[in-house]
Point group: C2
Chain length 337, copies 2
Amino acid sequence: MAKGFNLSIIGATGAVGLKFLECLDKRKFPVRELRAYASERSEGKVVHFGGKPVRVRKLTEEAFEKCDIALFSAGSGVSKEWAPIAAKRGSVVVDNSSAWRMDAGVPLVVPEVNPQDIRKHKGIIANPNCSTIQMVVALKPIHDQARIRRVVVSTYQAVSGAGGRALEELREQIVSSVQGDGLAHPKLFPRPVAYNAIPMIPQKDAFNEEGHTVEEIKMVNETKKIMGDPSIQVCATCVRVPVRTGHSESVIIEMERPLSPTEAVALLRKAPGVIVKDRPEEFPTPLEIEGKGEVFVGRIRMDPTVKNGLAMWVVADNLLKGAALNAVQIAEHLART
Amino acid sequence: MAKGFNLSIIGATGAVGLKFLECLDKRKFPVRELRAYASERSEGKVVHFGGKPVRVRKLTEEAFEKCDIALFSAGSGVSKEWAPIAAKRGSVVVDNSSAWRMDAGVPLVVPEVNPQDIRKHKGIIANPNCSTIQMVVALKPIHDQARIRRVVVSTYQAVSGAGGRALEELREQIVSSVQGDGLAHPKLFPRPVAYNAIPMIPQKDAFNEEGHTVEEIKMVNETKKIMGDPSIQVCATCVRVPVRTGHSESVIIEMERPLSPTEAVALLRKAPGVIVKDRPEEFPTPLEIEGKGEVFVGRIRMDPTVKNGLAMWVVADNLLKGAALNAVQIAEHLART
């Protein structure tokens, strides 16, 4: 076998699919052959990898012939159906959807947090939810030192988390407001997203019987699984804001042992994949970190309202660390083993 | 004395000043004479009240001659200097700035929460911070029933909270982005506010030594004073989002006694100035409540991560209930006594 891996990208024309290609190229992933797949609707489209055009094919079993790693980002339905087929044919799937994340036999991995779980895979590895990834990258070094008991997180999530068409919907509303036509009618989102804050993610099937959204439950369950500690309590409120790319999070934690802001900064400085902004006025914002791969942590301060409390502001590019980059990092671990 | 009151509006040309005029008119406040004041820069401008033009004068002591009630919204500096002068001349000041809020001799009032404090005034009554007002309106009935011990709040604050020029800055950035010119350079805000989330309010002198912003400290201290309970702990993270008008808040509370979401909904249904959206998908958003005077509460749910925990989403028009309307409601109480 020649040096390099055969990769199939499933969902290659989507917002995250395109970022897969960008990350693989930028990080010089050892690719031998790269194939691109999408739904029938996108068949024949062309994407680019390493400056060369790649024709998009309709997804069939052929995608997993002589395929080492298959990166999926085509929605839960596609992953549910096709990931087992891919695994059976010998590919290792890195799946960006929520389909397999809570499956006991599927590792859920953030390489900075639980790289050891990668080797437990049986053909499928799940990439966590975007909001969860950036939070656990920031929390892991703190948890190791001071044991986090409870997290109260409120998110400020970007529109691109809902895909390319959602970004287009924001743009249409913004343009129509500038033209004085009011806001274009919402299609994907339950309310206009321009100039608004929508406490409901995703757009459909959002609420369980207790009134929590699917996104909030993901943050609760995925955090426990990735951190390998089911005792961590997470109270999440997930909100869409008219930011194009970059999720922000107000994260308030309660720890078993005391940890000062200065100590937290020192831990985060050493942590992989984290950039700390320790002067308060240096706080990160989504607009300025777009396109960057790290998790940015700022406004680290004491929460004096509870024993061993800390507050912080966590920002990352939801399409990169929150999705494509994390998956490509998992693929890099696979490539090294 | 003829029926009706002589009112002076200090800061009549500002975002809140204009809303004073609108609220007084809409609510048919018994006005005999209304005078409008602003800085020298705005002298000679014309505002409208009850369909009639009112010429804006430069603020001098004359403003408080035969003036029953003076509504101030011209910044802390003006209030600090002029409110005592007004009070000395026999006017009752309702001050929208932060200048007098934490003064022990000055009542800090939200009429739905602590109307009894109005009559303790010695010539000055302070109108609380916008973010605090809407939160305490939602929390008071819950506190009375179940005693709130701790509040963790993360805000999603509108640009109009920083005034008319801030709205213009958002508009310029939006327009330049639509025209493909990138984002116009920030002037008032520390970062571009369009497509962004800025965890720093206000724009200047924002952080104390512990890393909390002035706005966050206001929420901590004002909540205790208005609720008349210094034992309530508040952990606040205040964030500006590209919403024009309407502040939203993710509010997580811990109570001394258990209170179910159903019981909380029932309490809030009876509470003055509150509109409850009890079906999860009816959540309020800032865009749809703009121009309304009530505090909207939705997404009321259990927070199972703590004993006696509740989570909710609180939205109000920051220029109305968060500022001008609350002040006019205080003036109405004064007019009745």
